[in-house]
Amino acid sequence: MVRWAALLLPGSAHLLERRWLGGGTALALWVGLLGLVVFRFRRVVDAVASGTDGRIGLAVLLLVLLTVWIWSLKSGPRRSEKGASAGDGDWARLWGSFRENRLAVVGLWVVFGFYLATFLTPFLTPYDPIFQPAFQTPEMGLLSAPPSAAHLLGTDGLSRDLFTRLLYGARISLSIGFLAVGISVTIGTLLGAVAGYLGGWFDFVVMRLVDLFMAFPRLVLLIAIVALFDSSIFLIIVALALTQWPFMARVVRGEILALKEREFAEAARALGFSRTRIIFKHLLPNALGPLIVAATLGIGNTIILEAGLSFLGLGVQGPMPSWGRMVFDGRSYLLDAWWITTFPGLAIVLVVLAFNLVGDGLRDALDPRQVSEVRR
């Protein structure tokens, strides 16, 4: 019985064993995604038929379903034989201590949910993010309509469905946040770590460069870069990364400076390890905590900065939506139609908060001393 349940409804077996979090998530994902396909069958077929957007969405959807199914079978009713301390690998242990922090897990699911939604967008909504129905067929479109069954979050001042625009905006805002921080962390870590360890002229040059960047207000620097070239999403990502790496470099350099004086660094040198190995394999993992905190804060910061740029007309160019742009588009309707600014704003808050929770959880999980304390 239990086996059949596990086969058909992933997560149900876990629920029977009172593993609420894992089972509930798996079941919700399974039912939700299958339900989406069944109840919105026509829309899914249309989307898949009409373009790559839909095909990628379908592939991601199937991939998630498959993952949930396999996970549920592998960790299913045979739980007892594996024991509580399942897995000895580094990743298993990292996950084990990460999930002790419930808030971090919630944050991770929120982030995952947003990213999943960006892929499934064409299945989730029948509307177009750019098309303005009220100006084509006046009886069809509603300007600044409040939330209703037809328009979950209402429509904006140009009669576009807000929920749809929020989903498409997530694509832009999330990729900008993620990519810009990814690039800046890479550059900042490389330069900061090497500068901190080597010292000397290299350190001097890098840190003066950092000072140079930090001496300008970030927004002014961004405006200058974006104004110099034609604004595009790619340029905005590069500009955001370019103005953010100095912060990452400073964090990493400071950590490395302290770490390289520790005795294990000296012991590593006495063992004949090369400088590259000592920097990246021995010192950097010890500096991951502050770096991850800086990076997750950075993602939130970047999303907000992008919003600011869009407000000034230098960010994402309309009519494509980004969350920041939507907030500022709605500012003139603030008194009449609160939903136009509120929902994109809430989305920003939610994502930034979720990223910060994940960052906190990761930092604690990456510190091995934390593990034994939590696990006793």
Partner: protein
């Protein structure tokens, strides 16, 4: 030829008060497969000596002077360049440090840390290195080694960590192990165990050992030969069995006298008066003379050479050309002024 030959090693430190001549003309020989001890108070330059051997000094304020020589199997290490030194470090000469609490990387398990050295120095694959890491942990006397290999440093006691450090140092199968105050930070009971371990490893592996300590008993338990260091130089040297019962240099006698004896409760503790002078300004003449009870005029004026005291040595009573481990002392009037013990 000795495994390691140190000649006229001078390491100077730039400090705010000027140039500190911390290691100032050290001669030291470590024969293949033998245990050699260096004893001295803090400030005598022992640790800096150890770091100088492998070029591990911080470059920004330390300098090994021209004319210094450290030869390992005949190959010069001073000024050999980072790349060549790296080939020696860990593989030929390994080090164990004083502070086991911080000498292990907190983010890796013991097994992984040892395996890294194994893959680097002995070209081992994943499987082999995992087994060998556990075997090394067993060799240094860690119980339940297979499980402990997965433990992180913070989960272990100080003694266990020091054992793990030693296992890591052994990973490259070195022919010389340099242990800088390996027991100082440990409980007395654990100290004895670690010393016994070091002696056992040295004998079983036929590995040379350079044991640096401020504690005479530590060196006496493990080493065949002992060097006494003061003011950046060796002041007495010889077989342990001769130096400790019959110390020739007043400083060695002072060290022995400032030990507590368990057996004889009434014996007075006789500390050496004064402190080790600053390395920026060593006293003129014999560097020990301001603290020496037997000081005479010449001690203040001129520094004594290292004089051979060995009866068999042909040049007995003459200045030692440098190196060797025969009985010698740097004193104008070597010999027991007062009977030690009785």
């Amino acid at each position: 030829m000795s495994l390691l030959e140190v000649r006229n090693l001078r390491t100077h430190l730039l400090t705010q008060d000027g140039v500190a001549r911390a290691v100032d003309g050290v001669d030291l020989d470590i024969p293949e497969g033998e245990a050699v001890g260096v004893v001295g108070e803090s400030g005598s330059g022992k640790s800096l000596l150890a770091l100088s051997l492998l070029g591990l000094l911080p470059k920004r304020n330390c300098e090994v002077l021209e004319g210094s020589s450290v030869r390992f199997r005949g190959a010069e290490l001073v000024g050999a360049g980072e790349k060549n030194l790296r080939r020696i470090r860990g593989r030929e000469v390994a080090m164990v440090f004083q502070e086991p609490m911080t000498s292990l990387n907190p983010v890796y398990s013991l097994g992984n840390q040892i395996r890294e050295a194994l893959t680097l120095h002995r070209d081992m694959g994943r499987k082999d290195s995992a087994g060998e890491a556990v075997r090394l942990l067993e060799e240094v006397g860690i119980p339940d080694a297979a499980a402990r290999a997965k433990a992180f440093p913070h989960q272990l006691s100080g003694g266990m960590r020091q054992r793990a450090m030693i296992a890591m140092a052994l990973a490259g199968d070195p022919s010389l192990l340099v242990a800088d105050e390996p027991t100082t930070a440990l409980d007395v009971t654990v100290q004895v165990q670690i010393l016994a371990l070091l002696r056992r490893l040295q004998e079983e592996r036929g590995m040379a050992l350079l044991l640096i300590s401020h504690d005479l008993r530590v060196v006496a338990q493990v080493c065949r030969t002992v060097f006494v260091m003061y003011g950046g130089r060796m002041v007495e040297q010889g077989p342990t069995s001769e130096v400790f019962p019959r110390p020739k240099h007043p400083y060695t006698r002072g060290l022995l006298g400032s030990r507590l004896s368990v057996r004889d409760r009434r014996s007075r503790l006789r500390p050496i008066p004064g402190e080790v002078p600053e390395a920026t300004a060593w006293p003129k003449g014999c560097r020990f003379h301001p603290r020496c009870a037997e000081v005479v005029q010449i001690c203040r004026r001129e520094e004594p050479p290292m004089v051979s005291l060995s009866l068999e040595a042909r040049g007995g009573g003459l200045a030692l050309p440098g190196g060797g481990s025969e009985r010698a002392a740097r004193c104008w009037f070597p010999g027991p002024e007062e009977k030690e013990g009785q």
